[in-house]
Amino acid sequence: MDAKLQVPTLDSPLPVLEPIKGVKKAPLEEYFTSGHRTCQGCESALVMKLMVKAAGPRTVVLGSTGCMYVANTTYYSTSWVVPWMHTQLGSSGSAAVGTAAGYRALMRKGKIKREPINVISFCGDGGGADMGLSAISGALQHMDYNHLILLYDNESYANTDIQASGSTPYGANTTFSPHGKAKRILHKRWKKNMAAMLAAGHPECRYVGTVCASYAVDFMNRIRKALSIGGPTFIHSLDPCPKGWDYDPMLSHELGELAVLAGIWPLFEVEQHQLRLYGKTRAIVEGRQKRLPVRDYLMKQGRFAHFTNDDIDYFQAKIDEMWTRWLIPGVLPFSTDVLNERPPA
């Protein structure tokens, strides 16, 4: 474990991206600008904006199908300043590798200048956590290419009007899981633990992290770290979605914070085999911040409006378990006890 990870033998140079020290040092330039067709209060649009703000002008962005494809580049107009290309739903991983390999080859052959070019490929939770999982896994094994895969997770197929995905949390109302009289809870799957899965499953990968755009500076610094560390990297962002989660758009920022403060969305990074909790998550674990009850988070969202007190208690128990019984709290969902709990519904 102590052995430093092998630094990939890279033909393409790496960018130097210094950490941003505080909100007042955030770059003024926008590389993803106004005039996209997203919802009022769309946190995923904010993720796009902060992602390229951190990455800078020498960046190529690839986007698999989802809200951030359809809403940002429709009807022959766009709000991207940096080059952007669409890729198919499940192929954010393949597109990242292909593009990084293409630039490397062009630089090797002297057809373009040798310089650091950031390749960022984004996918939604449908495109990434469901359909594109194998391609992302493949991409994270190819140590020769520098790229970042960013999963913006609004916990449903929001673009096509909220079908349940592998990232939809327990009990949430979606068009695939409407609550009814006979069955109050139709969606009984627990959210996929993507970042930890990819970190555990790709031992050579040098950077995997989770972020939330409510903490903009932390967010941008994770992007910078992932882009400048070398090799394939992965970042998972939780994006409150006013459309699918059904809340007043002005709560977008607050719900991101609440997800972290309630312990539902742990902020962590695995950097060269070293796991580090950061931000408010670290404060909670170190006892400097009280973990909030999940009720505060759930009852602000129409998708959980059908929850009874039993459902909220069950949700709370699962989150408590995450912090008290998991092998690595908030990250690795194994425990030494065999749990035979069943949902109350």
Binding site: V23, K24, A26, L28, E29, E30, F32, T33, S34, G35, H36, R37, T38, C39, Q40, G41, C42, E43, A45, L46, K49, L50, P57, V70, T74, Y75, Y76, S77, T78, S79, W80, V81, V82, P83, W84, N159, D161, I162, N173, A213, S214, A216, P242, K243, G244, D246, Y247, D248, P249, M250, L251, S252, H253, E254, M299, K300, Q301, G302, R303, A305
Partner: protein, 389 residues
């Protein structure tokens, strides 16, 4: 009845999706009671809907199947007998998801047709927002706070049935009050809703809007490229980089270049007002805005660019200073000018302007804030002055 009648509902995407569906469905169900045939459908180009972005739903009622088929061959009706705007701020214009530029709310209303608006504003104020039209039309205002909810929890404040009740009054050809009441009873099995519809029928009055009355502005539009003009790979130019702002002797800050084809002048129902004297330059409104609608001024304060603001309210939510960034009803604004420039020109006058605007905070809610909210609101507001006794 010998002719086909078209009704459109212009609404805020997602927030009013269920409301628009209920209205159009109600129209067709009521028409069935009279042996007519109809169809209710959403506009394809508006899908997938986005919160707050204007969308349209249609109801077409025909005397027989052949006539209905004829009208269904069209993408959407060319003219409407009744246009219903369930949010009064849509009177300022409709910037759809699909690429149409800005359409006047009354664009499709036929000669002597009717525009129904749910609003607490007087008819004269609404007419000032609506673009002028060469032909006369009638305006009916249903007094109600525009009804906003979300995808999963519906705010049942009777707006749907009240609009259904107004329809036989403004367009007796379409359907009778009796059929509307029967359809409501059958669909919702709620006598209070039937009463709401009848009361609105009794209270609804129309006012004729003469040609030339209203907002004389020419709505912005642009040329749509045909498919022959598209480049290989359907590539398009990106947006260029932004530039510092020049104002008087000052140069500094940053104004991003923006997508020139999709502006958000009418996407919002409220907009932020900024008290520059209170600003502590914390950057949060600018940094956390999903629409990048703030320009960084040479003073390092943050100025709203009304072209890009969709009125979500995140800036107000993140601002750490009381009354520094405050959301104000969109109805209170007649233009989209820079607030910072007004502030620089005359600070005292600007302060007076801010103080006045701050008395018009939105009473409407954009949607779900906590469980039980809608029931509380409905209990407080009742179902409107034209509602149940």
């Amino acid at each position: 009845m010998a002719r086909t009648i078209s009704v459109e509902v212009v609404y805020r995407g997602i927030f009013q999706k269920t409301l628009a569906k209920n209205i159009c469905r109600g129209i067709v169900l009521a028409a069935r009671k009279e042996g007519k045939i109809g169809i209710s459908f959403g506009r394809y180009g508006d899908s997938p809907e986005r919160n707050g972005i204007p969308a349209k739903n249609f109801a077409i009622v025909a005397p027989n199947e052949e006539e209905l088929q004829l009208s269904m061959a069209q993408y959407e009706p060319e003219t409407t007998d009744v246009t219903i705007s369930v949010d009064d701020m849509l009177c300022k214009g409709v910037e759809s998801w699909a690429w149409y530029g800005l359409q006047p709310i009354n664009q499709k209303v036929r000669d002597q047709g009717t525009l129904i608006v749910t609003s607490m504003l007087p008819a004269e104020a609404l007419i000032n927002f609506c673009h002028t039209k060469p032909t006369p039309y009638r305006l009916a205002v249903i007094p109600a706070i525009p009804s906003f909810s979300g995808l999963w929890v519906y705010k049942d404040d009777h707006t749907d049935v009240r609009i259904l009740g107004a329809l036989p009054k403004v367009c007796p050809e379409l359907v009778s009050l009796d059929s509307i009441q029967k359809a409501i009873k059958e669909e919702w099995n709620d006598d209070l809703k039937v009463t709401s519809a009848r009361r609105t029928y009794e209270h609804t009055a129309t006012r004729t809007v003469r040609p030339g009355e209203g907002n004389p502005e020419v709505p912005f539009k642009f040329d749509l490229p045909g498919w022959t003009k598209m480049r290989e790979g359907v590539t398009i130019d990106g947006i260029r980089l932004g530039e510092p702002i020049k104002f008087g002797d000052q140069i500094g800050g940053y104004r991003p270049a923006r997508n020139p084809y999709f502006k958000k002048y009418t996407t919002r129902t409220m907009r932020p007002v900024i008290d520059f004297d209170k600003c502590i330059k914390c950057t949060l409104c600018w940094l956390q805005c999903p629409d990048s609608c703030f320009d960084v001024t040479p003073d390092q304060t943050y100025d709203l660019n009304a072209e890009a603001c969709c009125g979500c309210g995140v800036c107000e939510a993140v601002c750490p200073v009381d009354n520094c960034v405050t959301m104000v009803n969109e109805a209170e604004f007649a233009d989209n000018k820079s607030q910072w420039e007004a502030y620089k020109q005359d600070k005292q006058a600007y302060q007076a302007w801010v103080d006045e605007k701050l008395t018009h905070r939105p009473e409407r809610s954009h949607g779900f804030r906590y469980r039980g909210q809608y029931q509380e609101q409905v209990a407080k507001q009742g179902v409107g002055p034209g509602g149940a006794e």
